[in-house]
Amino acid sequence: MLDGILSGLGTAIMPMNLLMVLTGCFVGTFIGMLPGLGPITAIALMIPITYGLDPSSGLILMAGVYYGAIFGASSSSILINAPGCSATVVTTFDGYPMAKRGHAGKALAIAAYASFTGGTLGAIMLLIAAPLLAKVSLSFQSADYFALMVLGLSAVAAFAGKGQVAKALMMTVLGLMLATVGTDRSEGVERFTFGQMDLVDGFSFLLLAMATFALAETLMSIMQGGSNEAQSGKELEPVELGSMKLTLAEVKEMAPTTLRSSILGFFVGVLPGAGATIASFLAYGAERNIANDEQKKEFGKGSIRGLAAPEAANNAASTGSFVPLLTLGIPGSGTTAILLGALLSYGIQPGPQMYVEYPDLFWSIIISMYFGNVVLLILNLPLIPYLAKVLNIPRPYLIPMILLFSITGVYLVSFNSMDILIMVAVCVAAMVLRILQFPMAPMLLGFILGGMLEDNLRRALLISDGSLSFIWERPITLSFILITAMILLSPVIRMLLVRYKASNERVAAKHS
C-alpha cells in the first residue's frame, strides 16, 4: 500500500496534475458561487474537456471541480441567502444572519476554514483507511438509514427558537407532507399531483430552499425597506464587511465543532444512501443538541458553531463519498454517478481491487484532494474582501440580480419553465409564513429527510416481512433510536430533576 501511496504522490505532484487541481478548484469555486449551480452542473461542464486527458488528470480535475463547487457554494449562501447548492442550504441558517450583522468577512472566513478542515481531514481519513471504509459503506441497511433519518428529525428541536416549538413542529410536518408530492418511489403511484404533469417529479429541494430563503428574503427586504424613508436611506450606505480576522475565543469556539462535524460529515458521506446535504443537516442538529443553553440562543442568529458545523460536514462528506465510488463502484449521489461514468469511460472499473490494480490513479486522486483543499483556501481567503463587496451594490441593482440568479440557477438544473412559476408560488407562501413568524428551516429539514425516511422505512418493513423487529435486532438501528429517545427525553428529565431539586430544597428549608 505504501508503494501505491508513494507512486500516487508522484503522479499527483506532476505539473500537469497540479495544474488540473488548480483549474478544477478555480472552476468549481466559481460555478459553485452561482446560486443553484452546484457540483453536478460544474462537472457536466468539464466532461468534454476530460476526454482528451489521461485518467489521473481527468479525475483529479473533476474531483477538484466537485469539492471546489461545494467549497465555493457557501459564499452565495452567506452573502445573499441564496444557497449555491443543496449541500450549503444549512450554511444560510447562520451564515446569512452573521453577514447581515456586519460580519460578512468573518462569516466567509469561518466557512473557508471549516471547509478546509473538513476537506483535509476527509482526505486524511481516505488516505489512511479508504479500503477499510468500504465495509462501513456496506454496513448500513435500510433499517439503519431509517433510524438515522429519525435521529436527524430529532434535530428539529435545534431549529426551534424560543417559544417557537409548536411552529417549528408544524413546519416540519409541512416539509414531510411536501416530500410526499410526486411519484411514490416504492410503488410508482402518483400522490398529490392532482393530475398535474409538473408535479409528477415532486418538488426539488433546491427550488424550495431558493424560494423560501433567497427569493422570500429579498422580496421581504423590498417590502420592509419602504416602511421608513430614513431607514432605507441608511441602508444604501455601504454595508460593513467587518474584520476577516477571528479572535482567539472564536477560534476556540469553532475548533471542536469543526472537528466533530468533519468526522460526522465524513462518515455520513461514506454511506451511499446519504450524502453531503444530509450530512450538513445532521451536523447542524448535533451541534445544536450538544450546545449549552447560552450557545443555543445564538443558533439561527449568526452562531459561529452553526456556520462551522455544516461547512465542515459538507466538505468532509463530499470527500467521504469517494469511498463507495472508488472502493465499490457505487455512486451515492448524482455527482458521483457522473464521476463513475467518467471512470468507466476510461475503461476503469472501480471496486475493492482498484487500489491494487490502479494504485497510481487511486492514490493520486486522494492525495490531490489534500493539495486541492490547500489551493481552495489560498484561492478563497484573498477573494473574501472582493466577494463581500457584493453587499455594497446598491439594493435597487442587487435585488433584481439575486432574483435573476436564483431563478436561472433553478431553471438551469431542471430545464422546466414550470419550476419558475412553482418557485414564485412557494415564495409567496413562504413570505406569508415568514410574516406570521414561522421558521423556514424545519420545513426544509422535514422535506429532505422525509422522502428518505419513508423510503427506507418501507424497504425495511418489506425486507422484514412487515415485522418491526429490525428496530431491536439491528444494533446500528437500535443505537440511533436510543440516541433519539435520549435527545427527546432529555428536556423532560432535566425538568423533572430541577423540580426534584427544588422540592428537596423546600423540604430542607422547612426542616431548618
Partner: protein, 322 residues
C-alpha cells in the same frame, strides 16, 4: 407600507430575462429533444448520438434541448403541440415510454408520435453477491417455490417499472405466481446495488451493462440475462431462454419524430441513424458508454413497439398494475 411597485418592477425584470433565456431556435439540421435533465441516460444517448453524427459529418449541426417534467411526459406533450415547427426534431426515449403510457402517467403513447428507430439496447440481468449461496438461477426458483418471501429482489426503480417487470417475468415464465415476488424498490441503481452488497436483498434486477461492470470487480455474480442468446461480452453467462425460461427482454433506447412528418422524412432520419454505426466516431461514443448496438429501423420499429406493449401490458395486468 409595502412598496408594491418596487416589488413588481423587480419581478418583471427578472421574468423578462428568464423568458429570453428559455427560448430556443429551431433552424438546425437535427434538433435533439431530451425529456430529462442533464446527466441522465436519455441525455447521454442524445448527446452521444448528436456528437457522432456531427463529428462524422453526417449532419452539419446538432442542437440539444433538455425539457424535464412529468417523468418525460412534458417533452412528449411539447413535441405533439408544436409538431408543425418540429420537422427536424428527434426526441430520445426508451422502454419506459411503453410502460408509462400503459400505466397512464403519459396520456399519449408512441402512436401519437412518429417512431423513427431504436439504436441501442441493454438486456436485463439477475445478479447476486459473489459470496451468495446462489450459483444457478434454478436454485433461486427452488427457494422461491419453497418460500417466496425468502427471495427478496432489489431494483433501482419503483414497482411496476422495468427492473421489477424483468424479475416478475422471469418468475412467471417458471410457471410461478409473479404476485408473490417480494420486490424492494430503491430510488437509483447505485443504491439498489449497495442494498444487494449490504446483504439486505438476495437478488438484484438491473441492466446487463451495470451488472458486467460490477462483475469485473468480482463483487457480484450474474445468474442469468434476458437476451435471446449469449452475448459476446459475457460468454459464460447463461440466458434465461437456454434454461427453458422464455423471458426475452431488451430495454431499448431510440428516437421519435414529431407526429405528422412525411414518410420520406422519417425514412431519411432512420437511414441517417443507420449510417452512423459504421463511423469510427460512433464507435468512440459507444465504447465510452458501454452501449450495445441494436438497430431497429423505421419500418420495423412500430411493430416492435406494438409487440412490446402487448407483452408488457399482459404482465402488468397480471401483476395488478393495470
Amino acid at each position: 407600507m409595502f412598496k408594491a411597485h418596487k416589488l413588481i418592477k423587480a419581478l418583471v425584470t427578472t421574468g423578462l430575462v428568464v423568458a429570453s433565456l428559455s427560448s430556443t431556435s429551431f433552424a438546425q439540421e437535427v434538433h435533439f429533444l431530451i425529456p430529462g435533465g442533464a446527466g441522465g441516460g436519455w441525455d447521454g444517448t442524445a448527446r452521444g448520438t448528436g456528437e457522432a453524427l456531427m463529428k462524422s459529418g453526417k449532419v452539419e449541426k446538432a442542437s440539444f434541448q433538455n425539457m424535464s417534467g412529468g417523468g418525460g411526459g412534458k417533452a412528449i406533450a411539447h413535441l405533439i403541440e408544436t409538431a408543425k415547427t418540429q420537422e427536424d426534431t428527434l426526441m430520445v426515449n426508451s422502454t419506459p415510454i411503453v410502460v408509462r403510457s400503459l400505466t397512464g402517467v403519459f396520456p399519449q403513447s408512441f402512436r401519437d408520435l412518429t417512431p423513427v428507430a431504436a439504436t441501442i439496447a441493454d438486456y436485463g440481468a439477475l445478479i447476486v453477491r459473489s459470496d451468495s449461496k446462489y450459483t444457478h438461477w434454478e436454485q433461486v426458483v427452488a427457494d422461491f417455490k419453497a418460500d417466496s418471501n425468502s427471495v427478496k429482489v432489489a431494483g433501482g426503480s419503483a414497482r411496476g417499472s422495468l427492473d421489477h417487470l424483468v424479475a416478475a417475468a422471469a418468475i412467471k415464465n417458471e410457471g410461478l405466481d409473479p404476485m408473490k415476488l417480494r420486490y424492494v424498490a430503491y430510488d437509483a441503481g447505485g443504491k439498489a446495488m449497495a442494498g444487494l452488497l449490504s446483504g439486505e436483498t438476495a437478488l438484484l434486477s438491473t441492466g446487463l451493462g451495470e451488472a458486467l461492470e460490477m462483475s469485473k470487480s468480482e463483487q457480484v455474480r450474474i445468474l442469468a440475462i434476458t437476451a435471446e442468446e449469449r452475448v459476446s461480452d459475457a460468454p459464460d453467462v447463461p440466458t434465461l431462454k437456454e434454461m427453458g425460461n422464455d423471458t426475452v427482454f431488451a430495454n431499448w433506447r431510440g428516437f421519435f419524430a414529431a407526429p405528422g412528418i412525411s414518410d420520406e422524412k422519417r425514412d431519411e432520419f432512420s437511414a441517417l441513424l443507420e449510417s452512423m454505426y459504421d463511423t469510427p466516431e460512433w464507435e468512440v461514443v459507444r465504447a465510452r458508454n458501454g452501449w450495445v448496438n441494436n438497430f431497429v429501423p423505421a419500418d420495423q420499429f412500430y411493430s416492435f413497439l406494438e409487440n412490446q406493449e402487448k407483452v408488457v401490458g399482459e404482465l402488468m395486468k397480471e401483476l395488478g398494475f393495470l
